[in-house]
């Protein structure tokens, strides 16, 4: 065990800050529902308010903003109104700033301010073009410890879309595979795949869209294989729907694949191996709610005589398999009948 660090000397007693008059937060005393700050935080923010007021931009201001940020990483004014503007005004070395950011991002992963500040620094002229590739690696490392961090994923997507450089895009599908191999229920990774394959324009080597759609449904990292491994995975089903809807393909394209997932698991393994339609694995807990829903949508899409088959499936969801959403399944029935 290490001894607890001694509390830092307050700015109010530091000779090098003697030229600054601290500015209190509330001039009128007695706010309602005040936060009971520590002495250290109150003192540091009194001096932050003072430098904001005076407009001082100096190295000691960088130290002060870092101090406030460490005490409260959500203090957006300390970040951008002040730290960022000072970095720019001093032409502060960006690699020094990024090294600090690496440490802070590691500590305050959940705070989106740390990610946005990285973005601002990366956008500065001196950041260097090679920096983006390094950033992708950094983000990948951060996602190993916090696999679903919203801001981290959004930052990665921004970086890719903003630079829109084939060299950066090139490794993304492999990266998604790594993440899905760790946890095939990670919806952030599925979303990232959709972002890369469909929503950000067409990558080099992916101009043949028919092939890409087939790959997404079918090939190595394909969604059907993932459903077969763990059928009750809403992320995979949403991806499957997404691929079809985005490409304006009827859901019935995969009806053959879906059907075995809507009924109890048969005894014994199937002899015929159908690569296009991987069957549920032996551990599958069937019938799978998402599959029943999907098949009902296939029938609804067909219309006519098929509608009553959709209605039967919705009834089974509302009455038996997914009773929490009974009202919604009833709504679907009403809606299909009103067409």
């Amino acid at each position: 065990m290490t001894a607890p660090a001694a509390p830092p000397t307050l700015y109010s007693v530091r000779p090098e800050w003697a030229d600054v008059t601290p500015v209190v937060q509330y001039e009128k005393a007695n706010p309602l529902a005040p936060i009971v700050y520590t002495e250290e935080y109150k003192d540091a923010t009194d001096y932050l308010r003072a430098v904001v007021k005076s407009g001082e931009k100096s190295e000691r201001v960088l130290k002060l903003t870092e101090h406030v940020i460490r005490l409260n990483p959500a203090h957006y004014s300390a970040w951008w109104q002040y730290r960022y503007e000072t970095v720019v005004a001093l032409s502060w070395p960006l690699d020094v700033e990024m090294t600090l950011m690496d440490e802070l991002a590691d500590k305050y992963l959940k705070t989106y301010q740390v990610w946005h500040h990285r973005r601002l620094i990366l956008l500065l002229p001196g950041a260097g073009a090679g920096r983006a590739a390094q950033e992708l690696t950094y983000i990948a490392n951060m996602l190993q410890t916090d696999e679903k961090n919203y801001h981290t994923w959004a930052h990665r997507q921004w970086l890719l879309a903003f630079h829109n450089d084939d060299a950066l895009w090139a490794g993304e599908l492999d990266f998604v595979d790594t993440m899905l191999n760790r946890d095939l229920r990670n919806n952030s990774a599925w979303h990232h795949r959709f972002f890369v394959v469909f929503q950000s324009g067409v990558r080099a080597g992916e101009e043949d869209r028919q092939r890409i759609i087939h790959r997404e449904l079918m090939c190595v990292c394909h969604v059907k294989q993932h459903i077969s491994l763990a059928p009750n995975n809403a992320s995979a089903w949403n991806y499957l729907r997404g691929v079809l809807e985005f490409n304006k393909l009827p859901l019935s394209n995969v009806a053959t694949f879906v059907k075995p997932y809507t009924v109890p698991l048969p005894d014994g393994a199937k002899d015929v191996v159908d690569l296009e339609n991987p069957p549920p694995g032996q551990g599958a807990e069937l019938p799978c709610v998402a599959a029943i829903e999907f098949l009902a949508d296939v029938y609804e899409e067909e219309g006519g005589e098929s509608t009553h088959m959709a209605v039967e499936l919705w009834k089974s969801l509302g009455d038996e398999h997914d009773t929490i959403r009974k009202k919604y399944w009833e709504y679907r029935i009403l809606q299909a009948r009103s067409v």
Partner: protein
Amino acid sequence: MRPTPVDAFPTATSASQAETEKVLIDHIPGDPTKTPPTLQKNAHMQFLIRNIVQGFPARYTSQDASQPWLMYWTLQAFSVLQVGLDPGNKRKAIDTIMACQHPDGGFGGGPKQAPHLLPTYAAVCALAVVGKPGEGDGWDDIDRKKMYKFFLSLKQPDGSFLVAHHSEVDVRGIYCLLVTATLLDIITPELVEGTAAFIASCQTYEGGFSSASQPYYSPSSPPTLLESPRPPLGEAHGGYTFCSLASWVMLQPFLASTSSLTRPQINKKSLLRWLVQMQGSQAELGGFKGRTNKLVDGCYSWWVGGSFGLLESLGINHAVLGAASSEKHTQAGTESAWDDVDDSLLNRKALQEYILYAGQHPAGGLRDKPPKSADSYHTLYCLAGLSSAQHRVFPSPIRRKEVLDAWRAPNSSDTSDEVRKRVFAEALSYTEEEGTETIVGGASNRVNATHPVFNLTVTHTEAIMSHFYGQVVPPRVFKGATATQS
């Protein structure tokens, strides 16, 4: 109670899911018919009062840049609990909030902090609860001219807004800006040009909305925004979905005059599907989660549960589908005919059970889930979610007409009057439908209804908007015994 299937393929997600379900199931009482769940109103009130009187403990330092939020969460939680502040504390609340107004317009996260859209929403909504007209009483101390300039200074070429200077774009900021501008009568076609299309671009393949989207521009000079690609940044998320959907509703008066060819569209069917899929199973006590394959959390009772209250504004309504009931909407005075119809698309009963069984901290205040501690944020959004599960507040055509009929045009020949009028009437058309309360645990658990767009009571919304629009709205006709006004 069937646990979420693991398919003999455990991963980190299924492990934390199973762990959570185990904790939640322990919170179901043995026989709920004998001891119906109770909303511990008094304990929650004490929790809120303690924060106000003693101040927030030092761990709330992380909220130092969200001080107007602490105020709004607390004051609106009081409103939902049917409690008003005494004049002395109201006075202090107004002074505290006004100290956060920035000299250049907008409100900051605390006194002398940079102005930011999120605390601006919180400050204005808190003032809607405790303020009133007159100098020093809040409402007339808001510098609306500077606020409008501040808003415009954040506008981006893709129709979005930065949340503050040097800050990021996200749909929470847009929601906060639109609410503020709507309440204060500073919303204009100029301000919201392109914003609806930006919102639409944030809808993901799952049906919910993401934090933002990335614009691409043509290489031409001047560059023009490309319609595609316009990829969403981040996956579909409960908080962003509520903000997007409520923004979409607030923008409708500005889209009415655009041609149907250029009018931005959202996919309502996939949106509805995503919303209902966010409700957890019985093993999760029917609470809501914020993303696919994530855990339920009490705050999504409002962000997702509350989103259902906005669907009717998009024309999605259960009862309207029945041939007989579709008539009801067009006929005056038939609202009581809804009495025995629970036309909600979410499971209102299960959501209430989640909040009552798992959302309440035994020592007062509400929370994400057990065994977490309570905080102001979860206290409000659990209560607001409970409110939306108890009441049906809907845009009433009858009320809209009353408001429109009472509209007084300004003396000057103002061409923008038509859209102002529409904004005003739409916002104030929301009405609680009487006789459709679904209150788990009995009438003593009843909380106040809250406006699905603003998360203020209808009474507070009406008062502040009438003031800024210079209108007198006709009194509401209450039929039931619950029609007491605060």
